[in-house]
Symmetry: C2
Subunit: 116 residues, 2 copies
């Protein structure tokens, strides 16, 4: 579940969505991204790093440049797994299983009702 959260967090920022949008066009080094989005160098670098850490991008060194490109395979994996989630397949996870177990015994009374 933590991986899924990291994935979603990576996609819930405008800068990073714009980066992804640009990288879908073609692979870029940091300085190209900063020019395309008209943002600072540290901002570009950091957000590229976050997207890479989340698994959406791969980085390769090309001399002085670090070239980032979309990891299509991983992106597809995320897309399909998320689609599956939203179409009804529940999260297979320890915590989630506990939740569902407790749900079986849950009744329509709130905190006050339970206090009795």
């Amino acid at each position: 579940m933590q991986d899924l959260i990291k994935t979603m967090k990576a996609l819930s920022d405008e800068t990073r969505l714009r980066i992804l949008n640009v990288l879908l066009e073609r692979e870029c080094c940091v300085c190209e991204v900063m020019q395309a989005l008209d943002i600072s160098q540290s901002r570009a670098s950091r957000n590229l790093g976050i997207l890479e850490d989340a698994g959406f991008l791969t980085a390769k060194r090309d001399g002085v440049w670090t070239v980032y490109s979309v990891d299509w395979q991983a992106a597809n994996r995320y897309a399909t797994s998320l689609a599956k989630l939203l179409k009804g397949s529940p999260i297979s996870n320890g915590v989630s299983a506990q939740d569902k177990e407790r749900l079986k015994h849950a009744v329509r009374v709130g905190p006050a009702g339970l206090r009795k």
Copy 2:
């Protein structure tokens, strides 16, 4: 693009993913969710509201209870649009279009290089 960000933000929280997971099982009122996840009432209510605002849930009043259920149609819409995004279809948006335009003129030089 702001909608997409809101959608992703809604999914980037453990509590909300657990709620979604439980609601995929069956529709629930607030007090059932708080029991299933063993969380406080305000926490359950607030996060249910966030998921509803993002479009994943619909709420209907049933007497004292507010019953939340997954909006399958909307969820499917999100799933497919995200899948499309990750499979290469760029974001159609004013800002993103500007970015791509600037990308055409971007070159492999950084801030120092541009200063010259």
